[in-house]
Structure formats: structure tokens, C-alpha cells
């Protein structure tokens, strides 16, 4: 028997030859991986496969087709089933979370629908087909638990679905099937079966009671993924120590972290099997789980990114975690401290009574804290079945069960605000929601870089900082030295990389902020922070007072003549004003030397950092310099244009 799986994706996910699926599409596809593995193990004579379009499905001539639909693409089911029926005289079965939430709305051309978790009903269906072939009909469907089916124009439900008796003995998903999906990225590992979040509600069929997978079973899944990755990447020369950066694994359910004992058991199993050296983890967390203890554990097992699903502050939807601005701010600081990137999704209207003031408060938070996120997306939640908006929507528009087949589900687009979207919110009208959506989108788009920060680059940068700090320490520091660091931006901190005890003063709003050191300092660092002061001279004078006789100061300033910043101005980009701790004052090396001299320092050493790939831009620089020399009669010192940073070490005169 050939069993074809046709996962439905939103039509716009396919653009010409490329495919950019949404998160739900990936979740949905991964679930099929589990079902195929189950069928292959339990019924080896069945050949199960995935096809992404009707055309390719027809070429494979399946004996039965399973259409797998999530809510956002349910609108395509009826026409797709009708077309399949026209060309294939085979049973068409429907499964997925949407049908599970609407147990009476089976499209006409679909023979049977699976309610709830699909494992056992699908297995029973396949076995029934093997026994009855094309004669499979309502008499057999009636005997399978967890099905709905049509007979003589009426809808019937079978007995209630059963649950898989022992979840941990279910076979491991076959991830190689998913490699046919272009753009396939981080494989998903579920650690439980619970519909406790919006994502799991929309992507997975409902389960009757929460069930957790055993840590050993979860780690075996991850091993399976690593093995698949190895097969996939076998043809490429990748250094072993870099290989794990090419193997991300996404863990979507909150149950991974919510139980401390289980998290520790998972950590222990992952470390025992050395999986943290084989792949990187991206973990979906509720903000409440972001604490020092959890992040230490997550960092130890190579968690490189955390994904958050958020609603406006003050919402009470049970499917999205709640948190306060203060808590989220602290959580972001903690993630930054552990060098774990944060990505997220904000749902503007997770409940019918979302208020404008809630959205405004949320916007103000993100305006101030957006730099703590590597990437954010904004969505308008559509009233899909299973969401908190669904009941209200249904009662307001007075939909009857028979109308459900005609609801244009594909016109609901939770990732883009569409003006035709029917709304059922009590406090937000269409115009307000549209303005809010576009404002958040603009804010996020301005912050989001085209690609996520690469974990390998992040780690290499940390390593470089550590090595540089170590070398610096060996050259200029003794173990007992008292060190002061003036910090303008957490990314530039040296404290984490030094063995010496380091005191810190911060630059806030152009001023030095924090208690003065109690004892004289032997070495002060100002890595870019001098430029973030409104009055650098006064700042330097202040720091000089903290130094012991013969104490030293190490200063890095960006080169004001660096071509990178000048070219931004020439391209009339100028600079935007919003980022915190931006450079306020540019300082020339001569001016810095004068300041050092004025406040009693002797220059010990001066050094430069030169930009990479100088040769690539040299022709442009020469053209520019020639033009200025020819028409402006000014001589441009070209070499200085390539200097990125200027570093000076100075000692206080006694």
C-alpha cells in the first residue's frame, strides 16, 4: 500500500521555486515525521511518503491520501480534496488540529476525519485498508475509534479516540522525510504532548491529558536528528569542532523546562550522551522560566537561542504566558548575561477584551527594550478554532455548524494584518488594530537584522574577547591589581574575562553613574565609553582621580575618520538617534593625547585596529580622495580612513 501525506501550507509560503514556511507549517510537517515512523514500524508493508503538491502526489499514484491541515490553511481543504477525488479513486482522510476542533465540519470529498491525536486511528485506518482495499467504507469506519465520516449525506462519529498507551515506546520521527521541504531548518523535538500554548493548540491535534516523554526517549530523538544531519552533510568538509553549529534543534514545548527535576534529568542525559557537543538548541520558554538557575542549565547544554511567545501586558489568555514589563526586562538582561539570544513572537489580540492601553503600554516597553531581542515578529491572532477568540467570534457572527464549511479560513492571516479580516474584539476596531500592527511591525523591522546572529560568530567573538583579555592581563596586570571598568555597553565588558576583581562604573545618559571605588585603582578600562559621555574631558578627569599613583588607563576610541562612518554620511544616511549609549562625542587621537596630558598621564603605548578587506574598498577611497584633492584642493590622509579603532595605554604621572 502507498500512503501519501499532503501537508497543507499557506499558499503564500510558496514563492516561485522557494518555500518559506511559517512556524506552524514546520510544526505540522514534523508531526507527519512521527506518523510515518509509526506506520513504517507497525505496518512495514506500507510505503508512506510526503508530497507537497497535488501534481507530485498524483504522479506517485497513492492508494490513500492523508491531508494534514492546520487552521491557517484549512480553507484549501475542500477544493484540494475535490480535485484529488477527480483524479484518484482512493480514500481521502483528513487530520490535523483544525478538524479536531470542528468535529462536524468534514468537507464533502473527504471520506473520514481523525479527531484528536492521530497515531492510533491512522494505524487502524491503514490496517483496515490493507484488509478491505477500496471497499473500505462507513461500516469499517464505524469500528475505528477517533474517526468521523460521512455516509448518505450525514455525519457520523466513531467511538472516542484512544490515547497511545505508552508514549515513550512510540518510534522516533523520521526526519529525513522532511528534507524534501526546501528551506527545512531546525528539526523540532517535542518533549511532551500537551496543548498548553497557542502554538501547540494551532499546530497539534488536541490531547486529552498532558503526557511527558522520558528524557531517554527525547535524547534518542536528538541522536536520530544528529545522525540524519551527518548523512545530509556527509559530502561537505566541515571541521568537527564547527559541525555542531550546523545542527540546530528546536524544542517548542514549555514542558522541557517547567519541571526542575525533569530538566536536570534531561541535562544529565544530554551531557552523558555528549549531545551538547553535537548540536545547538533553540528552546521555546515561558518568560517565568527565565531565571539564573535555568539559564545556567540551558547554557551548559548548548542552548544558543530562546524563543518567546508574548501577548500584550496584562492579558489573561490561558494559551500565552503572562509577564510584567519589569520581569521581562530582567529576563532579557539575564539572557544577555548568559550570551543567549532572544527571538520572539508578539500576538496583539490574544483575547476579545484586549484594550488599547494594553497595546500602548506594550509598545512603550518594546520601544525601550527592543535591542534586547535579536528578532521579533508581530501577529494579529485570527479567531481560529481552538483559540480564545473562537467562541466569541462564533457567537457574535452566529455561525451554525453547517456554515463552517463556507468560512473563508484562508482569508485569516495571522502573520499579516489583512483589512478584510473579520474582527470580534470588543475594544479594538479594525483601524486601531491596523495602526497598532503596522507600528509594531515598523519597530521590529527597524531592529531585526536580515539574519539571526550566528552562534558560531558569537562564540568566536567571545573567545577572541577572552583571549585578548587574557593576553592583556598577562602583559599589564598583576593578580592583586585593582581594576576599574567604565561600561557604556554590556557587549564591551571585560569583567567576565578577567581573573582580577573588577569594579564597574556605568555610563548612563551621557554621565558616569555608580559608586566611586573605595580604594585607588591600578588600571582603568574605557572601551568605547569615553565617547558616550556628554563631556569626555570631565569624565576623564573624574576617572583620573580614582587612579593610584602610577595607575594606568586603557582607552579605546572609534576612529572619527573611519571611512565606514563617513560613507554612511555621504550616502545621506546620517545616524538615527534612538539607540541607547550611542556615541555622543567623537574624539580625534590628537585630542585624546591632549586630554591625557592635561590630566597627568604619560602615553605608554598607542595601537590601531585596521578594518578587514581594505583592498576591496581601496579603489573607491582613491576615487573619492582624488575627487576631493582635484576639486576641493584638500589633501586626504588616506591611510587613516581604514583605521577602525585607536587604542591608548597611559600611566599616571607621580
Amino acid at each position: 500500500m502507498k500512503l501519501g501525506f499532503l501537508p497543507l501550507f499557506k499558499p503564500e509560503s510558496f514563492q516561485e521555486s522557494s518555500f518559506s514556511a511559517s512556524g506552524l507549517d514546520y510544526f505540522s510537517a514534523h508531526l507527519i515525521g512521527e506518523l510515518i515512523a509509526l506506520i513504517h514500524e507497525q505496518v512495514p508493508e506500507v510505503q508512506a511518503f510526503i508530497q507537497l503538491s497535488m501534481g507530485t502526489m498524483l504522479k506517485r499514484s497513492p492508494d490513500a491520501v492523508v491531508i494534514w491541515a492546520t487552521s491557517p490553511c484549512f480553507g484549501q481543504v475542500a477544493s484540494l480534496a475535490e480535485n484529488l477525488k477527480t483524479y484518484l479513486d482512493t480514500p481521502i482522510w483528513l487530520a490535523g488540529p483544525h478538524i479536531s476542533y470542528l468535529p462536524n465540519s468534514l468537507p464533502e470529498s473527504v471520506d473520514a476525519g481523525i479527531i484528536g491525536e492521530a497515531d492510533l486511528p491512522l494505524l487502524a485506518l491503514v490496517k483496515a485498508y490493507l484488509q478491505h482495499g477500496n471497499k473500505l467504507g462507513s461500516i469499517q469506519y464505524r469500528k475505528i475509534a477517533g474517526l468521523i465520516y460521512q455516509s448518505r449525506g450525514r455525519m457520523y462519529s466513531g467511538t472516542p479516540a484512544q490515547e497511545a498507551p505508552n508514549l515513550n515506546r512510540l518510534p522516533i520521527p523520521e526526519y529525513q522525510h522532511l528534507q524534501s521541504i526546501q528551506g527545512f531548518s531546525a528539526p523540532i523535538v517535542r518533549t511532551s504532548r500537551i496543548n498548553d500554548t497557542l502554538i501547540t493548540t494551532l499546530a497539534y491535534p488536541p490531547t486529552r491529558k498532558p503526557r511527558l516523554l522520558h528524557p531517554e526517549h527525547i535524547c534518542t530523538q536528538i541522536e536520530n536528528i544528529v545522525a540524519n544531519y551527518k548523512k545530509l552533510l556527509a559530502g561537505y568538509a566541515v571541521a568537527p569542532e564547527q559541525a555542531r553549529y550546523l545542527r540546530p534543534v528546536f524544542i517548542p514545548d514549555f514542558q522541557f523546562v517547567l519541571q526542575k527535576k525533569r530538566l536536570i534529568a534531561l541535562q544529565s542525559e544530554i551531557l552523558k550522551r555528549k549531545l551538547h557537543l553535537e548540536c545547538l538548541f533553540i528552546v521555546h520558554l515561558p518568560p517565568e522560566a527565565i531565571n539564573d538557575e535555568n539559564l545556567k542549565i540551558l547554557k551548559s547544554i548548548s542552548v544558543s537561542k530562546i524563543a518567546l511567545s508574548l501577548g500584550p501586558f496584562g492579558h489573561q489568555s490561558s494559551l500565552l504566558p503572562t509577564c510584567t514589563p519589569d520581569f521581562l526586562k530582567r529576563a532579557l538582561e539575564l539572557c544577555r548575561h548568559f550570551h543567549i539570544g532572544v527571538v520572539g513572537q508578539l500576538f496583539l489580540n490574544p483575547e476579545v477584551n484586549t484594550r488599547p492601553a494594553q497595546l500602548a503600554k506594550t509598545y512603550r516597553f518594546f520601544r525601550d527594550e527592543i535591542q534586547g531581542f535579536e528578532r521579533m515578529h508581530v501577529s494579529v491572532l485570527a479567531p481560529y478554532p481552538g483559540t480564545p477568540l473562537w467562541d466569541h467570534y462564533q457567537s457574535k457572527l452566529r455561525l451554525k455548524q453547517e456554515d463552517l464549511a463556507h468560512v473563508p479560513w484562508d482569508s485569516f492571516d495571522w502573520e499579516h494584518f489583512s483589512p478584510s479580516l473579520p474582527l470580534a474584539n470588543t475594544h479594538l476596531d479594525r483601524q486601531y488594530l491596523s495602526e497598532a500592527y503596522h507600528s509594531f511591525k515598523k519597530l521590529f523591522d527597524n531592529n531585526n537584522s536580515p539574519t539571526l546572529k550566528s552562534p558560531i560568530n558569537e562564540d568566536l567573538s567571545l573567545l577572541t574577547k577572552a583571549v585578548n583579555a587574557q593576553q592583556f592581563s598577562e602583559l599589564y596586570l598583576k593578580k592583586e591589581d585593582r581594576v576599574l571598568e567604565v561600561v557604556a555597553h554590556p557587549d564591551l565588558m571585560v569583567k567576565p574575562f578577567l581573573f582580577q576583581s573588577v569594579e564597574q562604573i556605568f555610563v548612563k545618559a551621557g554621565q558616569l553613574s555608580g559608586p566611586a571605588p573605595q580604594e585607588p585603582i591600578d588600571l582603568a578600562f574605557m572601551l568605547g565609553s569615553l565617547n558616550c559621555l556628554r563631556d569626555p574631558e570631565a569624565g576623564l578627569e573624574q576617572i583620573a582621580k580614582y587612579l593610584a599613583p602610577e595607575g594606568r588607563i586603557y582607552i579605546i576610541i572609534p576612529n572619527p575618520s573611519f571611512l565606514g562612518s563617513i560613507s554612511q554620511i555621504l550616502k545621506w544616511k546620517g545616524e538615527h538617534s534612538s539607540p541607547q549609549n550611542k556615541i555622543l562625542k567623537f574624539i580625534t587621537p590628537e585630542h585624546l593625547k591632549q586630554m591625557l596630558e592635561k590630566y597627568g598621564f604619560t602615553l605608554v603605548k598607542q595601537d590601531y585596529t585596521i578594518m578587514e578587506e581594505v583592498e576591496a574598498i581601496r579603489p573607491t577611497v582613491e576615487t573619492l580622495a582624488n575627487a576631493i584633492e582635484k576639486y576641493g584642493s584638500q589633501r586626504i590622509p588616506q591611510d587613516v580612513l581604514y583605521v577602525n579603532e585607536i587604542k591608548m595605554l597611559a600611566a599616571k604621572r607621580t
Binding site: 507600528s439 556628554r534 563617513i566 554620511i569 538617534s577
Partner: protein
């Protein structure tokens, strides 16, 4: 050079003030001619420096002015070389915005960091501060046409028009570089951006800002399973 610029700019801004601008809030450098003229015509003219000289320091750490400004009161907000001196121009504008009437106007005057004289300064001497211009000693923020428009967008003022102050130096070089870099603003010394206060999200003024947050979520009590 800059004395002439200041005189001409004051005349220009004065000519842009319309009869409906009855209440004017001015922040930044002083505009004594405009202030005198406004008072002579019976207009209300408030110079922020006189009542709240802390305006330059408005930031996350210092979010409000020391003295309260009346809310939604002024018809015109004159921002005259103020943004360049502000630690956080965006936050300053959001605070000033509160004092402007719905649909009120703003004239934002700022130096162009991309003027040819500044570019030459950067390329030849680094970043040498001067007595006036984009690189004035007290400046801590530096704007281009694009960044000013972006700022207006971020603080809830709809861009209506711009007036430019042109000062061409080394015309052949300016023309050459303009073509090379596709930068039309190399000859522009400063901009006056004209904007109108808009009342869309997230800048909408909440009359009911004191609106209570929904009550905290109640955790349902577990029902007793014991038979009554």
C-alpha cells in the same frame, strides 16, 4: 558665516508662522526676534530654556521635564537646533509632543551632518568641533535628512514639507560628489522639517490613561472531590 545663517534662518522661520499659531513653544537655541515679535502681537511664546533648562538631559534616566508644561496647549512647536544637543532626541520629542495641540504643527531645524564642509572636515581633520554648525561643541547628536524624517516618524509627527538652507562651498566638488554618492544634500547646511502632530497608534493620547488594568488572573480553586 554662521551669524548670517542664524539671521536669515530667524527671518525664514518668522515668515512661516501663521495667524493660527497663537501659542508657541520654543526649544533649543534662542530666537529673540521671533519671541519679541510674538509678544508684540499678543501671542503666547514660551522658551523652554527659561522654565526647564534640563530639556537636553531627557532620557530613560530623566524621563520628564523639571517643570510641567500644559498638556495639548501649544499650536506650534519650534525645535531650533535642539535635537543636536539632546541626549535622547526621540524621548525629548515625545515629551514635547504632549504639550502640543492635536493637529498642532512643528518646525524642526537641525544642521545637516552631510554638508560638504563637514565631510571635508571629517576626511581631513577627523572630527574637529567648532563654534557653530553640525560639529558645534555642545552637539551630541548629528542628523541627516533621512534621520530627521525617521525621527519624526518615530515621535508621531507627520512629515508635511521641508525648507532647506543651501550654502554651496566648492561647487564643482559638491556636484561631483553628489553624483558619485547619489546624495542630493551635500550643499544643504540645515533643514527645517515641517510636521503635524498625528493621533495614531502608538502616539494616540489616552484620555483614559488611568484606565485600570484588568484584574489579576484568578487561579480557580480546586473543587473538593469529597461527597457532600
Amino acid at each position: 558665516m554662521y551669524n548670517q545663517y542664524r539671521q536669515q534662518m530667524a527671518v525664514k522661520i518668522k515668515s512661516m508662522i501663521k495667524p493660527e499659531h497663537r501659542r508657541i513653544l520654543c526649544v533649543g537655541d534662542a530666537l529673540p526676534e521671533i519671541e519679541a515679535s510674538a509678544k508684540e502681537h499678543g501671542l503666547e511664546f514660551v522658551y523652554l530654556e527659561n522654565i526647564s533648562p534640563d530639556w537636553r538631559e531627557i532620557s530613560r534616566e530623566h524621563p520628564h521635564f523639571d517643570s510641567d508644561l500644559p498638556a495639548k496647549h501649544f499650536d506650534l512647536l519650534l525645535v531650533y537646533h535642539a535635537l543636536e544637543q539632546a541626549i535622547e532626541p526621540e524621548r525629548l520629542m515625545l515629551e514635547l509632543r504632549k504639550a502640543v495641540q492635536p493637529e498642532g504643527q512643528t518646525f524642526i531645524t537641525a544642521y545637516n551632518i552631510g554638508h560638504i564642509s563637514t565631510i571635508i572636515n571629517l576626511l581631513t581633520e577627523g572630527w574637529t568641533y567648532q563654534d557653530d554648525g553640525a560639529l558645534r561643541h555642545q552637539h551630541v547628536r548629528y542628523f541627516s535628512n533621512e534621520s530627521l524624517r525617521h525621527l519624526m516618524d518615530m515621535v508621531g509627527f507627520e512629515f508635511i514639507d521641508e525648507v532647506v538652507y543651501q550654502m554651496v562651498q566648492t561647487p564643482v566638488l559638491t556636484r561631483q560628489l553628489s553624483q558619485m554618492m547619489k546624495n542630493p544634500y551635500l550643499g544643504i547646511l540645515s533643514f527645517v522639517m515641517i510636521g503635524r502632530k498625528i493621533n495614531t497608534f502608538p502616539f494616540i493620547d489616552f484620555e483614559d490613561d488611568a484606565e485600570k488594568e484588568p484584574p489579576p488572573k484568578r487561579i480557580p480553586q480546586k473543587k473538593s472531590t469529597e461527597a457532600q
